[in-house]
Symmetry: C2
Subunit: 364 residues, 2 copies
């Protein structure tokens, strides 16, 4: 009775991620530690909190559809022009718009097998055809991505650096070399959601005006504002301007928009949070090691712990941790899925993890 | 150098609405009265304000991607099942998803000439072909829309009730009759953004399970939360479920999601705000009458004032009001554009309007 257009009619009813709230309703009890979605429990700058609380009183107003002030501040922060910046409702929203702008039905899009599922969701959602390259040594493989792009004439290539779900990272020079190896007319979407946690050498020196690359950044991770839904793209002015053709102009939440600007202006808090995350990574690694799980090196706010077993074992461990009140996730594809992925959080949550992990393992 | 897919490549660079902040930057001074975007300066329930301020502290968490609690509360409020409700980032966002779900390139979509431009923006954005029916007596014309839909085999038909930008409304029975007159396989999107301001008889008795209709509601207008970006669709469960195939699952702002639930639970505040808006409508009409502008009847939170001149005159009046510090808008299409459209607001803002309007008229 309900008639859908051909592309959506052919899409699966599945969703990329199940939220922790759904799992809590299924189990009938809340998680004691929320360490599964790479949220940042160290939270946003107190200046951002104050700005958001003040903004609540004026929530009867729509947000500025141009995000003018935030865009100007981001441009200054990155040393680019406002014309290089597009603010949107998180990277997820921007990825959807980017795919819509660049991928026609049947166009090939190259990504890594096991990389960010929400990107794949958008590609399929607009009729793109995904072509996947395997990870190499638990990291995305820039040269293999570029080679596959040349073989397939890919329109769009996805690379997250640092990577999710493994936490690995590329040297910036390797990414710059990859860009030079792309076929003409293709576009690299460089997802830098975790860039603030990474060493400086992981950030490639690519001009914001380079039409071959668009970068994605977010206030969800290092800035601790996942629920605010503020991300931004950095890219060539023509591509940035094209978002205006299709985006939901009045889609930004006003409180989040104002909070992001205040968060950006508190780089001291950001640095402190990045240090707290680094300490939490070390603690998660130590907790893992005491339980015969090996932490992979991470340049993000999460740690992949290698179970040295298979995906079925890791799945049982994730479920057993949930049974112990700890929300974590795991990679979806072999061989990555021998790992579980644990987000960094404050010590109170890691205390719970520390107690829960041996108990969960003991149940297996 | 930047290559877009064919549909976006063919889209104009124009945007549906210019925000007041852009106008303020152009003029170099802020508006004294913000009465142009049908925002609701009476603001949200204090319970919603408190809930949002409390939610700021937990903005490091993503929102529940299923909006489970809000969906359940909305279903109870409307006497439908949760399966009939899809929460999204305002009606604008939901309209975009609906067009994407139902309109393939080349499909005909019927609307009224002068109705909501953002809907048209989405239709063009997905390659749909707009076919427009004129207003009749400053109101949308349900039977003409249905007839045009039958003539064209329209996939989607748009009707706002109450209407924006004129403020007029249909009797619910007329809309029910229109639905019966639609061709098989077509879908009416009934935009009820202003429904809470309308008389009860304007709301048609259409089952939420009727696959021929999807209704759109929002927290932006009567609930006074435009900047929160929370809207919802009510429709057949199969159509509602289809949104999961394409929507940005983690796209909701957590503060807005929590605030909307609290706002819904304060129906006393809603009723009080609706009464305040009704009084403001009367005052705007009186201000207009003293300046030889005639208020059209309105079932919304705005008033269209007939200048009894043409669109060029109304445009000059809108600009002159801006020069006096008052932000208003006007319909975009003749003959509707002989009017200016003034949003309801608290007395302090209407005081400014009252002083500004004769001064603005005197400059013309």
């Amino acid at each position: 009775m309900v008639r859908l257009a051909p592309i959506p009619a052919g899409l699966p009813a599945t969703v990329p991620f199940v939220g922790p709230e759904t799992l809590e309703r299924q189990s009938g009890r809340p998680f004691a530690a929320r360490l599964g979605a790479n949220e940042n429990g160290f939270g946003p700058s107190p200046r951002a909190v104050s700005a958001m609380q003040a903004a609540v009183a004026e929530v009867w107003k729509y947000a500025d559809p141009t995000s003018f002030d935030l865009t100007a501040a981001l441009a200054a922060h990155h040393g680019v022009r406002p014309e290089n910046i597009m603010v949107g409702e998180g990277i997820d929203g921007l990825l959807g718009l980017l795919v819509r702008l660049t991928v026609a039905p049947g166009d090939v899009v190259v990504t890594s097998d096991g990389a960010y599922p929400t990107f794949n969701f958008h590609v399929a959602g607009f009729g793109g055809v995904l072509d996947k390259v395997p990870y190499r040594d638990d990291a995305e493989d820039p040269q293999a991505l570029a080679e596959r792009a040349r073989q397939t004439g890919a329109r769009l290539i996805y690379l997250a650096n640092p990577d999710n779900p493994m936490g690995s990272w590329q040297d910036g020079a390797a990414i710059a070399a990859m860009v030079d190896a792309l076929p003409p007319g293709s576009l690299l979407v460089l997802d830098e959601a975790y860039a603030e946690f990474a060493p400086a050498e992981a950030i490639p020196a690519i001009s914001a005006d380079d039409p071959r690359v668009i970068r994605m950044r977010t206030f969800s991770k290092a800035y601790g504002m996942a629920g605010a839904r503020v991300g931004y793209a950095i890219g060539h002015p023509d591509l940035i301007a094209a978002f205006d053709r299709v985006r939901n102009h009045f889609g930004m939440n006003r409180i989040g928009q104002i909070g992001a600007l205040a968060a950006l202006q508190d780089q001291d808090w950001l640095a402190q949070g990045v240090a707290q995350v680094a300490a939490a990574r070390d603690r998660i690694a130590a907790i893992g090691a005491r339980n015969q799980l090996t932490a992979l090196p991470s340049a993000t706010n999460f740690v992949a712990l290698d179970t040295h077993r298979d995906g079925a074992f890791a799945r049982r461990l994730v479920d057993a941790l949930a049974g112990q009140g700890v929300f974590v996730r795991m990679p979806g594809v072999a061989p990555l899925n021998r790992c579980i992925r644990i987000s960094c959080g404050p010590d109170a949550e890691l205390d719970i993890l520390e107690q829960a992990l041996p108990r969960a393992l003991a149940t297996l």
